[in-house]
Amino acid sequence: MLKTYTYPEYPYRPSAEQREGRTLRHPVVVIGAGPIGLSAGLDFARRGIPVVILDDNNTVSVGSRAVCYAKRPLEILDRLGCADPLVAKGISWKIGKVFVRDRLAYQFDLLPESDHKMPAMINLQQYYLEEAMIAAIGREKNADLRWKHKLIALKQHDDHATLTIETPDGHFTMEADWVVACDGANSDTRRMTGGDFVGQFFQDRFLIADVVMQADFPTERWFWFDPPFHPNQSVLLHKQSDNVWRIDFQLGWNADPNEEKKPEKVIPRIRAMLGPNVPFELEWVSVYQFACRRMQSFRSGRVLFAGDAAHQISPFGARGANTGFQDIDNLGWKLKLVLDKVAPEALLDSYDAERIFAADDNLLNSTRSTDFITPKSVMSRRFRDAVLELAETVEGIRPLVNSGRLSRPTPYLDSPLNTPDTAPFKGRMAPGTNCDDAPVTIAGKPGWLLNLLGEGFTVLTFDTRPPVAKLDAGPLSARVLTVGQDFADTRGLVAARYDGEIGTTYLIRPDQHVAARWRSFDAAKITAAMRRACAIPAAGRR
């Protein structure tokens, strides 16, 4: 049915270990080559971990699926070396309009703070994202992406897992120190480890359609409550690349998914929405039912779960794939330190703690949006309609309208890896928060702060003369990045965003989150904070 995109078919290549009947122990095996599995492959490989990524299929995502990518995931993809073509290909947007019945109730602007390298949000079909990531993986010598490899059994041992893999050539066995399960909402890996979800499944269904049309709708997010062309339900319209538009129709619980997917059902719905004179072609249709739930623990023995395999989040707010990238961002450096025996395995428990904290924040937000968009009782529907009706004329009521709260990173404010502040700071950069980007000048050329942070720990200091250029603490080390020496804060935005005074010093984790900050450069304190961020017990205490 697709007219604007031809699916690549990636070749199945039998592995030497299968051909020769050898059982090899791999440091990390990633299950699933969707966006999250691919980002795991890229992240781990770039950190120096030899990684095998297995996928039971041999192509990219069918249909546009995730569509919206927010600033923080784009920053992560930029660290992984593949954001630029995605931003160039994707559609940037910042205006959202909310319609109630046949009227525009109000519009909002994401009002992204200017002077960040990445935009607030882009829309892009998931297949383009995956294609770019697969190409990037092909450039990593540490990454081995294997198509048509299906995990069919998993057995856990104290220090590794045994995987039985099915390929077109039959079965073979692999061993892995760690398995990272990125095999989606219906994760087989989750089932094999006996992990189950806690949370709720919503009694609602949505029809999602990719439509090709030359329409003069602006590049905005349009959301309708109870539109005349689809009474009593909600509809969302989003622009993607190649004049492909994504339309989501709420169907209600009683809809028959197989019936609703038929073109003879879908086309009249779209025709009613666009009017009789807009030519369009249908590219892809799917019906889904969504959930807000997560695993009780994202770690089961030697298996770590990420993305939809670990948590399912209702689509309002584009929090699904976006939070999955942040799972991997959190996991990669920890896995590397544990594999190198620099940090204890307890560091991986902080993956569970930090990303469950983030998952719960996402679940809270998307459950609230869902309760607003699909009220569960007569009275909650009346309250919802009251808010919508008032919002048209009473500006102060508009913040109550909830058509999805768009994905934002969750700061790990209570993380055990943080070293608490001992001095007052202004602004947003509290320990546990992802670092804000800012424009800088490097050797006379314009650049970006986040691009300077690198793969390891970084000390960012406003000290005029820090005592060292690199801070070594046993097996741990941090590069010292000095404002005014390594780069120029030409526009003063680094100082403004980090409340930088002379002497102000930040310890930044390998995932670009603040671990600690002080008002002066103190190597002993930095070292202690770095050990704490790696879950290494303080000296003299075991």
Partner: protein, 70 residues
Amino acid sequence: MKLTTRANINDPDGFYQELIEAQRDLGDEEAARMTCKLVILLANHIGDRAVLSEALRLAAPKSAAIPPKA
């Protein structure tokens, strides 16, 4: 307790009459919808989350007491 629970309306009978009058000619559904709008408008006016939570607890039926916020 931040919620004002002492008498605070300087014309209680007048207010009550106005409230009832406002809905006298409305059907049940219309009246319910109007009440919802009223709740939303007044909640926005109050704004203070602690006061709103106290009011929600005080208004809840005894059998369905809303636990205090942690």
